[in-house]
């Protein structure tokens, strides 16, 4: 009987826990935390995303959208472990209102009806004073957060503080088992009563993207997608080959063959910062084509419903004080906005995409030659450049066969494929830095290159592209590099400068034992909320908070 009871007990507990886990877990396995619930236009909002799902993807997309789900800004961030931390610049021109931040994985874009969690962000335009009313989210879509008050305690050393005073807080996390919840997000920030009461996490349902999404999981990189259409038309060609070149060092080159829909996708591994990209689409019948980038955007079926809220005078005063603080911050803080990072992408292999060049000719080592015909004749053995009746042809020697190839080689200028020989004719020694070429029949995927001729110009700005048809030169935001929020490094502010931070502490803290944190307050007065947020073992978000006052 004793054994039977034990088995029954075991079965019961297994059934209980498995059932519990199914009901609580969010569908995406992504949880987003922000350093603030409100901001002034022009601010930088920091986010942390934890990836709890079983996907192989380790790259998350975070997008900021308005109440109508029109994307305002988006960021792509690679996870370190299970967490991704990044920032989003709030445009200075953004009107006052409630925006929503949401996180998704690339593979989610093709799904319809998936639960999407949208975290509210109250944005106050710094030029808009005495705002009488605001559209705030209706509470029916709000997601309930559980409180673990019995397991978490927040004990500040005082309840009332002066401006710029140091706050010491004991966070009781000893009752939480690290295997259930490994880390929590601890935050201390100024309170906006309106955002505190009306804001939070809201639920919506996803709608599939209009793009054709390849079955692909982004690992250590992201997919850059776009569409090819005929010039001055929305019609896509039956088939086109799109080349993507990132001409900055290290050089990147890849191609994609589009179908009837015209969509193309490129996977950029470990590409961070902001880079210049050149897109080029060509079709068999040589129609003039244009290629456009389409950013990965999470669509939703129904936006979060909103309602009008008239602001009280204290709320208006608070908002005006924030706007003033925004102006002063810009005056005194040089690095108020984080500058764009330069492009970086580690080289995958030691050799270029098209293989080692057999020969490299540095033109500065020779006397000056006027055009490419002379250069090829005098310096490039095995390269034949001919112009007859206004048509130029290039033929390379097939080194292994000891005969010239009967078709054009793969031609590159600054790492960008070029299919018109006309362009080469104008380049002389004054323009070209070096020429690299290969006299072999090479394959790059399904592309066959009867020789490769690569020109590197002295002028690296690629101005020559401007007059070329079928080329699109664009600046592409890649994955966001690692950056630390400025308030984390600010230990003691300078007394002669105004300190107008509204977020004082925002860090991941290990559970399993009680922790002590401390942070300096700023010149801003009002209520400060110290919160502990995290994800319970059943997948539900919990939040505990304590209010202190700055007078």
């Amino acid at each position: 009987m004793k054994v039977r009871n034990q088995i029954l007990g075991l079965l019961f507990s297994v059934l209980f826990f498995s059932g519990h886990a199914q009901t609580g877990k969010t569908e995406s396995g992504l949880y987003l935390f922000t350093d603030r619930d409100f901001c002034v236009s022009g601010d930088t909002v920091w986010f942390k995303v934890v990836l709890n799902g079983e996907s192989k993807s380790n790259v998350v997309h975070v997008q900021l959208a308005d109440a109508g789900n029109h994307t305002i800004a988006s960021v792509i961030k690679k996870c370190t472990g299970k967490w991704a931390e990044g920032f989003i610049h709030i445009p200075d021109s953004l009107s006052s209102g409630v925006c929503f931040l949401s996180a998704f994985l690339y593979e989610h874009l093709s799904e319809t009806g998936r639960q999407v969690e949208k975290k509210s962000l109250f944005v106050y335009n710094r030029f808009q004073r005495d705002l009488p009313e605001l559209l705030i989210p209706a509470q029916e879509d709000k997601r309930e957060e559980i409180t673990l008050e019995q397991q978490i305690s927040i004990n500040p050393d005082k309840k009332t503080y002066k401006v710029r005073e140091q706050v010491a807080v004991e966070i009781g996390l000893g009752a939480i088992h690290p295997e259930e919840v490994a880390q929590v997000v601890v935050k201390a920030s100024l309170v906006d009563e309106l955002a505190r009461q009306a804001g939070g996490r809201f639920l919506a349902r996803s709608a599939a993207s209009h793009m054709v999404i390849p079955h692909f999981q982004e690992k250590d990189g992201f997919i850059l997608s776009g569409k090819v259409t005929k010039a001055n038309s929305d019609e896509s060609p039956e088939k086109a080959v799109v080349f993507l070149s990132l001409p900055e060092n290290p050089r990147y080159l890849d191609y994609y063959v589009t179908g009837n829909d015209g969509y193309f996708h490129f996977f950029l591994q470990n590409a961070v910062g902001v880079g210049e990209a050149v897109l080029q689409a060509i079709s068999e019948d040589e129609t003039e084509l244009q290629a456009k980038i389409e950013f990965s955007i999470q669509k939703i079926q129904q936006p979060v419903s909103m309602q009008k809220q008239t602001l009280t005078q204290p709320q208006i005063d608070f908002k005006n004080a924030l706007a003033d603080a925004g102006f002063i911050k810009r005056l005194f803080q040089e690095e108020y906005t984080i500058p764009e990072h330069e492009f970086s992408m580690p080289e995958r292999f030691t050799i270029p995409a098209y293989g080692y060049p057999q020969r490299a000719v540095n033109l500065d080592e020779y006397y000056e030659l006027n055009d490419f015909r002379e250069i090829s004749r005098e310096l490039l053995g095995g390269v034949r450049f001919r112009t007859r009746d206004g048509t130029s042809t290039i033929r390379m020697l097939n080194w292994n066969e000891n005969a010239y190839f009967d078709s054009e080689p793969f031609r590159l200028v600054n790492g960008i494929p070029v299919f018109k020989n006309r362009l080469f004719a104008s380049f002389g020694s004054a323009d070209i830095d070096r020429v690299e070429y290969t006299m072999e029949d090479r394959l790059f995927g399904d592309l066959r290159f009867p020789g490769i001729l690569a020109l590197y110009l002295k002028e690296s700005s690629n101005r020559w592209l401007v007059h070329q048809p079928n080329f699109t030169l664009l600046t592409v935001p890649l994955m966001q590099p690692q950056h630390t929020p400025e308030f984390l490094s600010q230990t003691a502010s300078q007394k002669n400068l105004p300190d107008l931070r509204s977020v004082f502490f925002w860090q991941l803290i290990e559970t399993g034992s009680d922790q002590k944190i401390d942070f300096p307050l700023s010149d801003l007065k009002g209520k400060v909320e110290i919160t502990v947020e995290g994800i319970a073992s059943d997948g539900q978000i919990f939040k505990c908070s304590e209010i202190i006052e700055v007078k």
Partner: protein
């Protein structure tokens, strides 16, 4: 119209049609399709044509084998048809879209696996610091542990009496596949040539000769062919002799 003129017209029409096609970009549009899109990356290499006077001894395998190629950056190409070109120590891959053979760029390949019905054969690229021809070579990986047992396959030209080959050409040599076994020290990246003899293995451990002999005897290792050498490496590794 006179028939000669008609014929000339047809010939001219064809000639112009084909000249028109040659003006287009040099891409093989028939080969390019959705199968050409591999987002992780593409295999690159040098096109390869089996030489007219070549024979099966150039390759290790008689026919194309389904296999996989792992590149240096961790990108894995599955279900590719490959053959090891022993004659040049290269990996030859078949591109089904272009219907073209090519030698995969050795700089990019890390390892490749042949999936036979009876098992797998793994090749790894390792740096071989020889006096002549130092560089990266493909080694047949037989055992991978604290120390590896690897085989280098090569083709040896053996002198024979004069004979006529299949093409009726007079020859005085024959190509013979050969292999050399090496013990590879992965941490030191060094090699030691392995002799397929029991005595060689015993001499590796002069202080433990009796234990090694006893271990080989108990496991019935006598002939020291390839199978038994792999077994010997496994036993020695498990017994901690390689530590």
């Amino acid at each position: 119209m006179r028939p000669e003129i008609k014929i000339l017209l047809v010939v001219f029409t064809f000639a112009f049609t084909f000249t028109g096609k040659a003006q287009n970009s040099t891409l093989d549009w028939k080969a390019l399709g959705e199968n050409s899109n591999r987002l992780e990356g593409k295999l690159t290499g040098l096109t390869y044509r089996i030489p007219p006077l070549g024979n099966n001894t150039h390759f290790m395998q008689d026919r194309w084998v389904e296999g996989s190629i792992l590149l240096e950056d961790g990108d894995l190409f599955d279900d590719v048809r490959i053959r090891y070109l022993t004659f040049q120590d290269e990996l030859v891959v078949y591109n089904p879209n272009l219907k073209q053979l090519f030698i995969a760029d050795k700089e990019k390949v890390n390892s490749f696996i042949f999936n036979y019905p009876h098992g797998r054969q793994t090749f790894v690229k390792l740096y071989f610091d020889a006096f002549v021809d130092a560089g990266y070579r493909y080694f047949d990986l037989k055992y991978m542990g604290t120390r590896w047992l690897v085989t280098f396959h090569y083709i040896y030209e053996e002198k024979t009496s004069v004979y006529r080959d299949a093409y009726g050409k007079l020859r005085d040599s024959r190509l013979k596949p050969k292999k050399t076994y090496f013990m590879y020290f992965p941490e030191e990246e060094q090699y030691r040539r392995v002799q397929s003899k029991r005595r060689w293995f015993v001499r590796l451990f002069p202080e433990n000769k009796r234990e090694v002999r006893r271990m080989f005897r108990r496991n019935n290792l006598r002939r020291f062919d390839e199978k038994e050498m792999i077994q010997a490496f496994k036993l020695l590794d498990e017994a901690g002799f390689f530590n």
